[in-house]
Symmetry: C2
Subunit: 245 residues, 2 copies
């Protein structure tokens, strides 16, 4: 059976279940494994020898938290991450994750409403990790991200998006045409409806869903290899060939 | 320069530093990465096709917590873990980790002062993960572990020990001769003094030590490959050849 693609509501439900009594996970645990999976996906596709400088773009929510964890692991892997985080999250966990990056001497572009610092950073970046908006994103795109997204998109740099490319509708995809068009996507827990037709390399991470939970929601997750924390999903067929289905 | 082997006191200091303001890590995060490293080490050496049934032996402290995290990941990897935890820890995190294993249908041998349940479990075990005592262990070995350790040792099953083989002095090794003699060891953060002459396969996990912290304590950690969470240490030379040094 095919892997299930989640609506925003279902993704929210599964997240809640993982952290409820039935799952018993802490956000710290889930975010650590999710962020590790993001870092490993980027490292799988973009080797540090050729793409050492990663601009990790973080939104103010849990997606941004995943980004901060990924930035730290990328630093451990030998990359040179820089954090773009114009609106730091207010949650305690977010602040701790930031501090962990500070302690690792990972630089953060000073928060600013201006775009110049981001423009400057893009000039010394080899690959972008997009952890701005997640599955709870609702349009419109607010400042400063409304101006930042086009800058990232036009940079010509390879982009790895976390869970849902920033600016996309979680269920309808890039329906407004204002979202990023990443080369690589790392879905977390299970892929979302909006990325069903995503044509780039598509990975799944978040290897913490029990069989009970998987069956309850009919997820039909792909099989992860050995002890890996990520699994690559099969390529979506091109439009021409999909007509045969 | 050679990797530094830690005294019990130094190991304690580094742990505290990781969780202090200077490190900012939560125990949840560190334990998740440590337990994952333990599971990945076992899976590297003992393939699930040949060694599917793992008896995860957990003490009442943080070492036991690492074991519970490892049991969960082993379950995700497709092993059939069973938990031996005669004295469950009382900390909140320990209880949550237990619940996570329960939710994954990982069986736990009912706590008992008797040895029969453990004896029974050993008959249907392929490999043992020893997460009973860690670097804060002080002799004497208390019941029921005083009787359980010899049972595990005499089982003839392969043993993977976490951080320090149970029953060993953290600095002097198996000086009383009552400790386990594991085939594989997974040291966490940095190896301890007592395992300097350990002859089996020796791995290191806990890839969360910043360069600043590493330099402060002069750890000279080995280089982890790519984005792996474990690294195998060079084999200790045999006594005969070490005389040449």
């Amino acid at each position: 059976m095919a892997t299930r693609y989640l609506t925003a509501k279902l993704a929210q439900q599964i997240d809640e279940e993982l952290m409820s009594t039935a799952g018993a996970f802490s956000l710290d645990q889930l975010m650590e494994l999710a962020g590790l999976a993001c870092a490993q996906t980027l490292a799988t596709v973009y080797k540090k020898e050729k793409y050492p400088r990663v601009l990790v773009c973080c939104g103010p929510g849990n997606q941004g938290g995943d980004g901060l964890v990924a930035a730290r692991h990328l630093g451990m892997f030998g990359y040179q991450p820089t954090i773009y985080m114009p609106k730091p999250g207010s949650k305690d966990i977010y602040k701790r994750l930031q501090l962990q990056c500070d302690n690792m001497q990972i630089p953060t572009i000073p928060p600013s409403a201006e775009l110049q610092p981001l423009q400057g950073a893009l000039k010394s970046t080899d690959v972008i990790l997009d952890a701005i908006f997640g599955f709870s994103f609702q349009p419109p795109i607010r400042a400063p991200f409304d101006n930042a997204l086009p800058l990232l998109g036009k940079s010509g740099l390879p982009i790895v998006s976390v869970d849902i490319p920033s600016g996309w509708n979680v269920e309808k995809g890039n329906d407004l045409g204002v979202g990023l068009e990443p080369d690589v996507l790392i879905s977390l827990t299970a892929p979302k409806e909006g990325v069903r037709l995503f044509k780039g390399r598509h990975f799944l991470g978040g290897r913490f869903v029990s069989k009970t939970l998987e069956n309850k929601f009919g997820l039909n997750l792909p099989v992860y290899p050995d002890f890996a924390q990520i699994v690559e999903l099969p390529q979506v067929e091109e439009e021409g060939s999909s007509q045969k289905l």
